[in-house]
């Protein structure tokens, strides 16, 4: 078990490293060098030279990379071009905002979708199930910014005017409602789908049948026999959805003007603020990988075969494997239900 996790962990680190290489390489492709970008219009040859030395742009790329990487490891993400401020400091409050937003979304989405999912599994092929499945399908299809705009049109100033549609520092808590709701609606469907699929898978399994044939009370069957076997895959999908949030916030923050990492990224792009872009992309990729890792570990831990004797898991994927298509269709955001996507 621990070995498996260790391996996964190591692999996560490797991936992160690879990502860092990609990000660094990508930013090398920029027209003009950092100095040019920083000074922008008031760039005189002298000042350029000075700055180049200061940023040691004269060294070979490899050296620059290693220095940059060393910086990263010490939490030094470089200095922003547009405002000559350490990126790490600059990112603090945006990161906070984004986390608040993601947190809210997750808090709303997870329990609700679990309930809906389980319920439609029990009410399989009845009205509720069909409505739920159609609803999730619809929500899963539409890009989150579209959902957001529709929400604004309906509830925002344009429409019912219940909630503000733009964030402002003076604004009250109500300004978080629409963005959080948007994200929640975006992450929920796969969880619902997965919960339903897994529950059905489990409820149809022979061991649940056996439990019923033993004459056990339905509640016992559900909670003792069915639930534990459903956790694994579902937990994974939840984790994956949270991972998706890391990237999903961008469009939503952009839409609602929330000063989070997504907004910072967009501004960084607008100002060609390379260190900022690098930092945010790495940050997001980092979160993404980390949570995927988490999902992985959960998947392992939820499977006694692995927990007890460290042999490779086979069970957790199964629910996903079977209903793949069905969930796939629902999994718009991060292809989440295909837990396999990130499991190796």
């Amino acid at each position: 078990m621990t070995r498996l996790i260790a391996v996964r962990l190591l692999f996560g680190v490797l991936t992160l490293w690879a990502v860092s290489v990609v990000v660094f390489a990508a930013t090398q492709a920029l027209p003009g060098d950092a100095a040019q970008l920083i000074l922008g219009r008031d760039a005189t040859p002298e000042r350029l030279e000075a700055l180049r030395d200061q940023l040691n742009l004269h060294q070979p790329v490899a050296v620059q990379y290693t220095q940059w990487l060393q910086g990263l490891l010490q939490g030094d993400l470089g200095t922003s071009f547009s405002n000559r401020q350490p990126v790490s400091e600059y990112l603090e409050s945006p990161l906070g905002n984004s986390l608040v937003l993601m947190g809210l979304a997750a808090l709303v989405a997870t329990p609700v979708s679990l309930l809906i999912g389980a319920f439609s599994a029990l009410r399989r092929d009845r009205g509720f199930d069909h409505t739920a499945s159609l609803g999730t399908l619809v929500l899963a299809s539409v890009p989150e910014f579209v959902v957001g705009i529709l929400l604004i049109l309906a509830l925002g100033p344009g429409g019912a005017n219940l909630f503000p549609s733009v964030y402002s520092r003076e604004g009250g808590p109500e300004q978080w409602i629409l963005p959080a709701l948007t994200l929640a609606l975006a992450v929920a469907p796969p969880i619902v789908r997965m919960m339903r699929a897994t529950m059905i898978e489990v409820l149809e399994s022979e061991y649940v049948q056996q439990a019923r044939l033993k004459g056990l009370d339905e509640r016992v069957v559900l909670w003792r026999h069915a639930a534990p076997n459903a956790i694994g895959p579902v937990a994974q999908v939840i984790a994956l959805q949270l991972a998706w949030l890391a990237g999903g916030v961008v469009a939503v923050e952009f839409l609602f003007n929330i000063p989070g990492i997504g907004k910072v990224l967009m501004d960084g792009i607008a100002n060609r603020d390379v260190p900022l872009i690098q930092a945010v992309v790495l940050l997001i990729a980092g979160i993404y990988i980390l949570v995927n890792l988490l999902a992985d570990v959960i998947g392992l831990a939820a499977n006694p075969k692995v927990r007890v004797s460290g042999n490779r898991p086979s069970a957790p994927g199964s629910a996903t494997a079977k209903d793949r298509g069905e969930d796939g269709a629902a999994g718009t955001p991060a292809d989440a239900p295909k837990a396999k996507d990130v499991r190796r």
């Binding site: 022979e206 061991y207 019923r212 044939l213 004459g215 534990p228 006694p304 075969k305």
Partner: protein, 530 residues
């Protein structure tokens, strides 16, 4: 059948239909079982025997439902009771032993929990429950210590899992116990033990049993009464010996005659194999990665001869046959075909060698490309190995004909064929290239007995036409009927190798003896009468 106080189970005109098609899955079935007796419920796949078995606990799978008749267990009609009441009876009045405990035991729960809850009697203190559990475990010859109780199902062997399932059924001291093919997937030795346990338990507890199986041999061995199901109907019922002596229904007759009999004598002496056999394997050792599964294997097959590789699951027999076919590459030692060495990988063998050695797979449902018509399934290899035929249709027709299939089948897709027919197509595909040696890997094990018999006859004919067979199987009875010589594989080594007659009549290795002993002996009087 008159009902008396001994009767534990009485089923009248039970009918179960499928939704929404509303077709009857079982129609008007009536059976009774007395205390301490076992009813053998025999039928092939699709006969509805499992549905019947489940309905004895008033359980219906999704999209099925009991529409007629009643199921009285200990005088209470389950069919008419409420969910709640039925639940009370389950486990106490009637218990169920599933086909594959591997999937019927909850992977996420410890044995302690799963066994304990089977009693589902809240009045009992935990300690009492535990004592009972330990008691039953001892009775099914399993350890009863905490270490064992704390295990998860996947930590047990197949045999152990099945015993746990049995124990689970008996914990509640039920009056009736339903066993759904509890020994399929177990090798004969284990099967023998499990059957023994079942027999003993039912006797000790005075429980009535309904033993569902497709294996006439086992049933004949175990049951006091036999009921034969065919297409959802009960076609014959009676005391075991009576049914075996003179089966009333045609289907029963067929079933009985299809069962391969373990012939321990009467084999004509196999003539000494000529010096230049078609296939000679010497000093072969094979494995996967670090684990060795075969060692020091010496086998040879002569032209027109059928050599059987007999072994239980995990004995390495499939690995051996695949090495011969060039599908398993990790082997050392010599494999000569017609004097020429066979390369490890089929890709390094000459087209001629590949043509002359053909392989038929165990599971016909997986051995055919579902997207190709029979015709292309057969022509594919032919084209690849022998080039374009001038008259493809003729090739296909001939191949099918040799596999005893009408030429019309050429245009069908696999999904339009039954299991037996599929296996025939596989054989047709193999014989199309006119091979000299055909490797048959458990080719009958996935089929119903009746079909099985047909395939065996087919093989005999092919052999008579001069084809050599390497026949891999776990079924000693089959071996005694088809092979001239047999190699008994055990744990990757050949423990006995010789003419069938000799091996069957005077087995030298105790493993072989055990095999012969554990195989349920079965002599339908009418069969011998013929």
């Amino acid at each position: 059948m008159t009902r008396n106080e001994h009767t534990v189970l009485e089923v009248d005109d039970l009918t179960v239909i499928g939704r929404p098609s509303a077709v009857e899955i079982i129609s008007d079935v009536s059976i009774t079982v007395r205390r301490g007796e076992i009813l053998g419920l025999v039928g092939e796949s699709g006969s509805g025997k499992t549905t019947l078995g489940l309905s004895l606990l008033a359980h219906c799978k999704r999209a099925t439902e009991i529409v007629r008749g009643h199921v009285e267990v200990g005088g209470k009609d389950l069919a008419s009771l409420s969910e709640q009441q039925v639940r009370q009876l389950r486990g106490r009045a009637v218990a169920y032993i599933p086909q594959s405990p591997a999937s019927a035991l909850n992977p996420a729960l410890r044995l302690r929990t799963q066994l304990g809850e089977a009693l589902h009697d809240d009045t009992l203190p935990r300690a009492k429950v535990l004592d009972r559990v330990r008691e039953v475990l001892r009775e099914v010859a399993l350890p009863d210590d905490d270490r064992f109780l704390n295990r998860y199902p996947h930590q047990l062997s197949g045999g152990q899992q099945q015993r746990v399932a049995i124990a689970m059924a008996f914990v509640g001291r039920p009056e009736l116990i339903v066993l759904d093919e509890p020994t399929t997937g177990l090798d004969v030795t284990t099967q023998a033990h499990v059957l023994e346990t079942i027999r003993r338990m039912t006797r000790e507890y005075g429980t009535a049993g309904v033993y569902i199986s497709h294996d006439m041999a086992v049933v004949a061995d175990l049951a006091d009464e036999i009921a034969v199901m065919y297409r959802g109907e009960l076609v014959e019922r009676g005391r075991t010996d009576a049914v075996l002596a003179e089966p009333g229904h045609e289907y029963t007759r067929r079933l009985l005659s299809a069962v391969p009999l373990l012939r321990t004598e009467g084999h004509e002496e196999a003539e000494e194999p000529e010096e230049a056999p078609l296939l000679r394997i010497s000093g072969l050792a094979a494995g996967y990665g670090r684990t060795q599964v075969l060692e020091g294997i010496d086998v040879s097959v002569s032209r027109g001869e059928c050599v059987a590789l007999l072994g239980e699951s995990g004995s390495g027999k499939t690995t051996l046959s695949r090495s011969v076919a060039g599908l398993h590459h990790q082997f050392t030692g010599e494999a000569l075909f017609d004097g020429e060495p066979l390369a490890r990988s089929s890709y390094r063998r000459t087209a001629e060698q590949r043509r002359r050695v053909q392989y038929v797979f165990q599971n016909p449902y997986e051995a055919l490309n579902p997207r190709k018509r029979v015709r292309d399934q057969i022509l594919g290899p032919y084209r690849h190995l022998m080039g374009r035929p001038q008259d493809p249709d003729a090739v296909v027709a001939e191949a099918l004909e040799r596999a005893a299939l009408p030429a019309a089948y050429a245009d069908r897709f696999p999904e339009q064929l039954s299991g037996g027919e599929r296996q025939r197509v596989c054989i047709a595909r193999a014989v199309a290239t006119k091979p000299d040696l055909m490797v048959c890997d458990e080719i009958t094990s996935a089929l119903d007995v009746s079909v099985q018999a047909e395939i065996v006859t087919l093989l005999r004919n092919l052999q008579d036409e001069g084809m050599a067979l390497l026949f891999v199987t776990h079924n000693i009875a089959l071996v005694s009927n088809i092979a001239q010589r047999v190699a008994v594989l055990n744990k990757g080594r050949i423990v006995e190798y010789g003419p069938v007659g000799r091996v069957m009549s005077e087995p030298r290795h105790e493993y072989t003896r055990a095999l012969i002993a554990d195989t349920p002996d079965f002599q339908p009087s009418f069969a011998t009468a013929e």
